[in-house]
Symmetry: C2
Subunit: 187 residues, 2 copies
């Protein structure tokens, strides 16, 4: 951020009075421009024991596999956002959404809200942002070609709990450390 | 938003190619400025059957009661953010946080992530943004002086479940309709 989105003057990075973190502040109109984490809403569409994955047609991680997920929009419900992403990325209608994973990704300031869901009629096809979509059993999942650590983690938990038949909510952080990621699990 | 934060030129509101929602787009450098919901992280600090509430010293809702909660910061964990807000608003140390409520507030584009928690040693005092803080039993809660519908809803669920001894995760939307709010509960 270099310019004020309200008046067009230059901004400077400084700690405002009464605050304890540096913010971009306009030198002219004094607007404080707060920057906050963004929400990625998505789901784990299941049909007859198989999980729907999408192969990415966009950067980052072009060509790798992920769950349908994307940035939540203003004036939207998190649940609606998760279902919308399945429709956009995989032409998939999902039902019975229940919250399954809440992960904070500190290095990119994102919070993933991931829902379990049922894929209606087992139907899916590639949306604009997907090269292909496919239903996978646990054994078939291309674990070495997953796009994101957070999706790998969620899918891993999901299949483990699916065997036991008891799903519980997972809350965690994904923390980048040098060239790898550490996962901190709260539950 | 009137000006591009990258180059200072004017922005126009239009649907970019390949998108389906209007965005602020820079007429000069073509940067697309996405706007997304913000996360409010907070907690329900409990000590010996009583709940800690804060009376707001800031707008909006100056003078009314709420749970400690505030905007999550970049590079922060949602769990850490919830505990930080208790410390900032009530000098309260909270422990054993577990996610309890996830509510989308469509009219203000906010998502509340609210955690159950234990208040350490029952200690609290007003922070900079609170006029006073107090531990309340269910009967004592000033229900008619609550600052926000979402906090009223969460506290109501909390006390109901506290009596039964079984807490479950709540996911819902708060939707403004004319002069009132409708609550849509998914779980």
């Amino acid at each position: 951020m270099k310019f004020c989105s309200q008046c067009g003057a230059s901004v400077t990075l400084r700690v405002p009075t009464g605050d304890n973190l540096p913010r971009y502040v306009c030198a002219s109109c004094h607007t404080i421009h707060y920057q906050n984490p963004r929400i990625v809403a998505g789901c784990i569409p299941e049909w007859e024991g198989r999980i729907l994955l999408c192969r990415r047609a966009i950067e980052p991680r072009y060509g790798l596999w992920t769950l349908p997920a994307g940035f939540m929009e203003n004036s939207e419900s998190a649940v609606t956002a998760a279902a919308r992403e399945a429709l956009e990325e995989a032409n998939a209608v999902v039902e019975n959404l229940s919250l399954y994973g809440v992960y904070s990704l500190l290095h990119v300031s994102q919070v993933y809200l991931m829902f379990r869901s049922q894929l209606k009629d087992g139907r899916a096809s590639p949306g604009q942002e997907s090269l292909e979509v496919r239903l996978y059993t646990e054994d078939e999942v291309p674990w070495e070609q997953m796009a994101f650590t957070v999706v790998h983690e969620i899918l891993h938990q999901y299949f483990a709990e699916r065997r036991s038949g008891v799903f519980q909510l997972h809350v965690g952080d994904i923390i980048r450390e040098a060239d790898t990621f550490r996962i901190h699990r709260y539950s």
